[in-house]
Amino acid sequence: MTKIGLEIHCQLTKLESKLFCSCKADYRSLDINTNICPVCIGLPGSLPLLNKNAVEKAAMISIALGCKTPPKIAFFRKNYFYPDLPKNFQITQYNAYGPTSIGSDGKVLIEDKEIRVRRIQLEEDPGRLVYEGTSEKTLLTLIDYNRAGTPLVEIVTEPDFETPKQVRLFLNVLADLVENLGVSDPSLEGALRVDGNISIDKGNRVEIKNVGSFKDIEKALHFEITRQQSLAERGIPIPAETRHWDEARKITVSARSKEEEQDYRYFLEADIPWVLIDSSVIDKLKKNMPESIYSKKERYIKKYGIPLQVAEVLSSDKFYSDLFEQAHNEKNAKEIANIITTDLKGFADTKEQREQLKLTPKHLADLADAIMNNIITRNSGKLALQEIVKSGKPLSEIISSLDLGHVDDKSSLSKIIDDVFSEEEKAVSEAKLNPDTINYLVGKVMRKTKGKADPALTLDIIKKKLDSK
């Protein structure tokens, strides 16, 4: 049996400042070594000052993953030498002397499979090493400390995953969850990083590190399963080791280093006093926490009769659900849900598209209302939406400039159908026998009216006309 466990590092990118100083948590796009201060580069005499907001945000993740939070939390030093680590120790949390990290013992359901969360801890991100060429062959390693001290939440699961697919589903859920909580933007490079450990058939555990993206962790796990199985089949023992993911070659490579043997000499960080987290703090957080994806989904289904699959797409994407929440009312909710999950596809998929999107919640409400009140057809709605996302003009203006008004009076529609009949004599004669040809005729009418014709009415008239022929 395959057993997979994960260690996920999630940056709290939505925070203003780093974990122990007032430098920016958002270090991206800043000039090298400009987002630093005596604390985060560990100058002699500096002391860490705990960012209480980071504790709150980490507690939110912990609550959302069903973890227990102890009445007081502590920080520990993890001691090791590495050039990206300014103090040569990392301030983190540690549960070996009793649970003192922000969360432990949680669980998440993935396709009816229970994934246990062993612990969640709040810690500082190290700096970033910049190599000339690759890290193996570099002659020059430069250090950028802009990232040093960025708040990081480490989530460690039990080895409960049985397939790489479960891992992918879990990571998707997790990414949606932290985004929905408003604690992290998983689309930012390096905001969510995953290490895995994997063993097959009670074999030794192999750690996989250095995986750049979510997509690659699935590939890396697949590769490892195949590699370990082929070793096992040939009776070759699988050594317990750490392997790095080689992004270019899409394989894992033995790390050769003695990471296994590292002795971190954990002990209490006395510069940060214990933080009391009494139950009232947790209750307050729970009360003020954004609604969970699961509860949103249930509400969409129960309250508005939105179909399960639409509700799933809508609730798991914070951008979509935020749009929905601001646009909908009791009556148009279902229509808006439809527009967002089907018509908006292709216009708001990427971060860049979302940033440039001119669509407002009011547009959505107007659009849904216009469709529901038969002012425009669904097809015209699609056309209008295309225009709105680009120009941001009001719907009424777009309807008149694109001439999208609904054609729903029988006489004018009947005349248009007559024109189509005379142009498509062959199809008309076939139509009596073959219902597919009727759809072809409807399509012709739609093209002629630029999609403005009421589809149901069109079909009705065509059928009547055919019958009377």
Binding site: L47, D263, R265
Partner: protein, 481 residues
Amino acid sequence: MNLGITATQYLEQIKNGSLTVEEFISKTMERINKVEPSIHAYISLNNDAISQAKQIDKKLKAKENVGSCLGMPISIKDNICTKGMKTTCASKMLENFVAPYDATVISNLKSQDAIIIGKTNLDEFAMGISTEFSYFGPSRNPWNTDYVPGGSSGGSAVSVSALECIASLGSDTGGSVRNPASFCSVVGLKPTYGLVSRYGLISYANSIEQVGPMARTVEDTAFILNIISGIDQHDNTTIDKGKVDYTKELDVGVEGKRIGIISEMIGEGVDKQVAAATSKAISKLQTLGAECNEVSLDSVKFSVATYYTIAATEAGSNLARYDNIRYGFDFDVEGYEFNAYISKARKNFGPEVTRRMILGSFVPSAGYVGKYFLKALKVRSKIKSEIEQAFKKFDLLIAPTSPVLPFKIGEKVDDPLSLYLLDINTIVANLSGIPAISIPYEMTNGLPIGIQFFANSMQEKTLLQAAYALEKTTNLPGVPI
């Protein structure tokens, strides 16, 4: 002009115009230049001191607001960061390090118009009890320059004792303020953990150390404590106690005070003359109305082992940052793999620091953490609870500051264990976080003996009152140098 005046006298004379800041600072600088070759209290001096003094004189003349120190010269142990001046920790590692910021205690002093006259010598990274482990060479005891001044704040004690300043700031991790105070016949206070900000104090063992004032009188010590104590937004471990004026009600006496004599600190291993001076002090206190009784603190006998285990562990971590990457000394990195580079860089620590680094990576390591580090933490909490119990019965505890008299330079430098054992009377205060003070009590064969009081957490006022009462009974000679 008398450079031996107290802080209180200095303030009076500046206020009544009989003395100018410039006069006093110039004379102090002359004195420093004269005596430094024989005592070596300072690592560096403030070249702007005289112009700063002139500025303050100008403000005084113009009746502008001037801070409560009125230009008083204060020396600073060279492990406390001062903006624009080197802070070396008496180490080659930080030989040229200039901190880009002031420690909170320094900003406090500057905002009260103190003049930082210079940075004083110490054992490298404050690890030692004799100031012999300084990269820049030892300081010498002004009472007899063949002898050590104690440590690790030896330079600070020497500078106060030899009239090279009015007061000084040291740091006390295991007795580093009180021991040199005792050896040099000055007053030294280790405040309650959390009373004084550590921001800018270069960490050695951060869970137990504090910055502490050193001065020639208890009153002066209280005056400096007023300035440096209080909650600090740069140090999460500081405690908000509101503003207390430690110079007020100093003379309430000790009548009715219950004083416990720590049995483990007056018996075996204590020098005869030190023991005799302690007995004398105790009878003095009794005649002043105090009630003195012996109390046994059983875990004191484990305190040295406990202290060195905890301090070395924290030091191993705190000093790990000295990898010569972000600051340090000239060193060509070419051709070194990272680990080789690190070990090469770290060869620049002196012998005592190296010893504690090795100890500090051993006692908390995977196979030994249970046997040493965790056991030390257990003893530490036992010491804390014993102290707590003791303060249910007593207002104060008393013991000699050092079990022995100052020793000769070079006498013990090759015997680290015998040096470690000398900490036995002071480290209890660090391990339990309580305040303690050493005051000069007697001279024997020209060498000073200090007496130490302990009080319960945040009871600095009680501590200073008792020290003040005992100080009043002494009559000590002037420094010979």
